[in-house]
Subunit: 284 residues, 2 copies
């Protein structure tokens, strides 16, 4: 028998199987909510401060207030981790518009916290790289992590049918981000570039920019799709995927068609940074 | 004591208080779902065929399949109406991406049906008209009635603080629709115009266009914001509001600043059409 997985819903920690929201919740009625997601490694949240800060910023963008203090939130996270047996996992915090009387106006927000199994990309995928397609779209509030993934999920079928692994959003010839990941490219002179506008400011994006800055020139700017096609290397970053090399964009082969040197170097540096981070947290 | 209100959730008719969805549902995880809403008048759904047709079209746009046949769906609607005591009400059908194992990929869709009290706009509001503001935005899939109302709900505070009742979306100087209503304007020569692009094809919109065509010239086309400011009359249409006159846009007074003749005529014609519709349904 599997151990019971616990979740937190509107003030209560209870078995995941019983974790529900009433159908008047504004997430169900109007897709109104924000969330964030961090990794748990050795039962320790990784970069928790950063994720909490972004969670607050997303909530503020939707005029939602967390029903508990940060101290209480950290205590709940600890309690859920303690009750579950998932040393390597992901934790999701969702904040919605609450149980709305008329199905439109926000009420007391619903806070939900759940822990999920997490598998990082296998070595094979990292060594081979992935293919992506592009699609004309910009998220409505790019800097907020809202729960609205209508476009990304709707495109799952098209991504599969075109033999790709993910979709990159573009608008008027300029690319921005993936539904759940940030984009990077490496120019001929090894400058590491990532889009500055219309993107969610990923925590992994920020860490990779910082690591890249120690060895290469870096740039947050405009990335035209045409430049991407001609890039030396392309990769994506995310909490669950860390760094994943991209070897084809819209059928165009990138560089040598194999993961490049800069991408590999940054992935190694990122793994090292995460290990240091977790060790320093243990010491506290 | 109030009579129990019943709802339908994933195959079961149960008291509304017990109507919940598991937190793994894609509406909660990713705001992924569509819905539709029709009025019930004398325990009879009004224009049900039209709403069912649009519900199917929205579902198809998100690659979602209804878990029951139309015949079964009509039977459920009838059962819920029979169990509840709400002769004048609204009914909402929500179809979501279902209980997703990984919180991203759709599973068997969740179908939810609930009946809600409904108050049509009072005579005072109809006689006085409302003020609206405009905001730069176009919905991501305008022809699908998705549950994503992030922008509209986020703007509630701004609408109130500017003394308005609703917000009209515009993009590059061209207006489209409200979060939950369609827009109409009347030109100096009494031509009745409504935006053709980037709008949800409202059932009330279609009925009003048809009624208007009996007495005036009508046009589905492009409506520049500047033309709207100078219109003779402006009004909105929706299932719950029928026709509501608009007397101010972004602080600009429309026409005489009072509801106009064409607007009043169309509202009277619409009320008559609805009554005929319900009576003909009774006869069946």
């Amino acid at each position: 028998m599997q151990p019971t997985n616990y979740a937190y819903v509107r003030g209560q920690v209870l078995p995941l199987a019983q974790a529900t929201l009433h159908i008047s919740d504004l997430s169900i009625q109007r897709g109104y909510g924000v969330f964030d997601y961090f990794r748990v490694f050795g039962n320790t949240p990784v970069f928790l401060d950063d994720y909490l800060q972004r969670f607050h910023a997303s909530a503020a963008a939707l005029h939602l207030q967390l029903p508990i203090s940060d101290e209480e939130l950290r205590a709940v996270i600890e309690e859920v981790i303690d009750k579950n047996s998932m040393p390597r996992s992901g934790m999701k915090m969702i904040l919605t518009g609450g149980y709305s009387a008329n199905g439109y106006e926000p009420a007391d927000p619903s806070l939900v916290i759940l822990q999920q199994p997490l598998t990082l990309p296998g070595l094979e995928l990292v060594e081979k790289g992935i293919k992506i397609i592009t699609h004309e779209y910009v998220r409505e509030l790019p800097q907020a992590k809202t729960i609205n993934y209508t476009m990304g999920i709707r495109l799952i079928e098209e991504i599969k049918s075109r033999g790709a692994s993910d979709v990159l959003y573009r608008q008027n010839g300029v690319v921005s981000e993936f539904p759940r990941c940030n984009l990077f490219m490496v120019r001929e002179d090894d400058t590491v570039v990532t889009p500055a506008e219309n993107v969610l400011l990923g925590v992994t994006r920020r860490n990779v920019l910082e690591l890249a800055g120690r060895k290469y020139k870096t740039e947050e700017g405009t990335v035209p799709l045409d430049d991407l096609y001609r890039a030396k290397e392309v990769f994506l970053t995310s909490t669950t995927k860390r760094i994943l090399p991209i070897v084809q964009v819209d059928g165009q082969v990138i560089g040598t068609g194999k993961p490049g040197e800069v991408t590999r170097t940054l992935l190694a540096d990122l793994v090292k940074l995460e290990e240091e981070m977790v060790q320093s947290t243990y010491k506290v």
